[in-house]
């Protein structure tokens, strides 16, 4: 094999904690990075996603841009992994699903105490509109692997990546959802 496996990562409605847990592999990152090429990821400056072997997706879907980016990842990654509680079932951000999104924006941007006079809900087309509800990513695209945890441990992420790199079914450490 001449080309190294290409791996992309992204945070949608995530907190970047799953990426931090990935970095918790510590010195185990070094041999890993010798075996792979990083495509688009918050860890580098690549803007355009290329064809990839593995896409790691952290975070659920909370706005229109999240959906567009997720579809792009699905189209360009052979294997797509939902990493962490948010990507798997919406996570704690999905607790907003009990509330009305329009009212929430008003509460935060217009009527919250301490705002400057005239403050209002942002209305520039540059900004992605929030979805009425937060959704897990498997409700929009097919997901090949779920990696539970909030966040998954570095050990779990390392075990999954290693298994995918050598092309066998992952055998993960004891599961955690919290």
């Amino acid at each position: 094999m001449t080309a190294k496996p290409r791996i992309a990562t992204v945070s949608l409605a995530g907190c970047f904690g799953c990426h931090m847990s990935f970095l918790d592999l510590d010195e185990a990152m070094l041999p890993l990075f010798e075996r792979i090429e990083l495509d688009r990821t918050p860890l580098n400056d690549v803007k355009e996603l290329g064809p990839c072997d593995v896409g790691l997706v952290e975070g659920g879907l909370c706005n229109a841009e999240n959906v567009a980016v997720l579809r792009e990842f699905r189209a360009r990654c052979k294997v797509l992994v939902a990493v962490g509680a948010c990507a798997i079932n919406g996570g704690l951000p999905a607790q907003r699903n009990a509330l009305d999104v329009g009212q929430m924006l008003v509460d935060v941007y217009r009527s919250r105490p301490g705002l400057a006079p005239g403050s209002d809900v942002p209305n520039d087309p540059e900004l992605p509109l929030p979805l009425a509800q937060v959704h897990p990513i498997h409700e929009v695209v097919h997901v090949d692997h779920f990696l539970p945890g909030c966040p998954p441990s570095a050990e779990t992420i390392g075990a999954l990546l290693t298994a995918l790199l050598v092309g066998r079914e992952p055998s993960l450490p004891p599961l955690r959802y919290d």
Partner: protein, 237 residues
């Protein structure tokens, strides 16, 4: 003549007493059949179906099936675990099971079942229920968004506490637990913090106020268990 009657569970002959269910006989023999809604001190419920076993080749819930001499019961098989995995996924999908922010995490029977069966993802479109939290009671809160309708609280309150605080209401996917009080609020019911019904919830739907996150991670029930107990069937979404 005092040789006890026996039945077969996964190839082992186990004794039972007249009137035993498969579950009761197995539990007395120290054999665990996966379950969420069964409790040795309460009547049967048959709600969760996690204890589904093959009794003489036919599917039946171990908690409601009377055991008989010579019966052949299978519990630890791949196809039964596959069915249980599906049931656990359905329960997770029906409620707001955000374990990262639940004070029952690490000591929750639904979570344990997910771990034991290797459930990594939901598999279904989330229901995202919107039940209001009831924090009216001075000592106990209710979050029925996490309720799995096992009816343990209902049975404990009627059968043991003798208060009938909880009841099942609604139909189909609208089925939910209601509080038997004029206002529907827990504060106006007869529930006391040391009632069996207040402490029996296997998930994070009924809990004590002012006592969350008291046990450090590493010392919770799930952390103290041997990993081998939880690895029943490995990974699988």
């Amino acid at each position: 003549m005092d040789e006890p009657s026996r039945f077969m569970l996964d190839g082992t002959a186990l004794p039972f007493e007249e009137g035993d269910t498969v579950m009761a006989a197995a539990a007395r023999a120290g054999r665990d059949i996966p379950h969420l809604c069964w409790h040795s001190a309460l009547g049967p419920s048959g709600a969760c179906r996690l204890c589904t076993v093959r009794v003489d080749g036919r599917l039946a819930s171990a908690c409601t099936t009377r055991v008989a001499a010579g019966q052949v019961v299978e519990s630890e098989t791949d196809d039964l675990h596959e069915r249980r995995r599906l049931l656990v996924q359905l329960l997770f999908t029906e409620g707001n099971h955000f374990c990262p922010g639940c004070e029952k995490s690490g000591d929750c029977r639904l979570q344990d079942a997910g771990y034991a069966l290797g459930v990594t993802g939901p598999g279904f479109e989330e229901f995202f229920p919107r039940h209001a939290v009831d924090a009216s009671h001075p000592d106990v809160w209710l979050d029925f968004n996490r309720c799995i309708l096992c009816k343990l609280c209902v049975r404990a309150s009627w059968e043991v506490d003798g208060k009938g605080v909880f009841q099942i209401g609604g139909h189909g996917t609208g089925t939910h637990v209601v509080v038997n009080s004029g206002s529907g609020l827990l504060a106006d019911s007869a529930l006391a913090a040391n009632d069996m019904a207040a402490g029996i919830c296997p998930v994070g739907a009924i809990g004590p106020k002012r006592r969350g996150y008291a046990v450090p991670i590493g010392q919770r029930a799930v952390d103290r268990r041997e990993p081998a107990d939880r690895e029943r069937s490995g990974e699988g979404p």
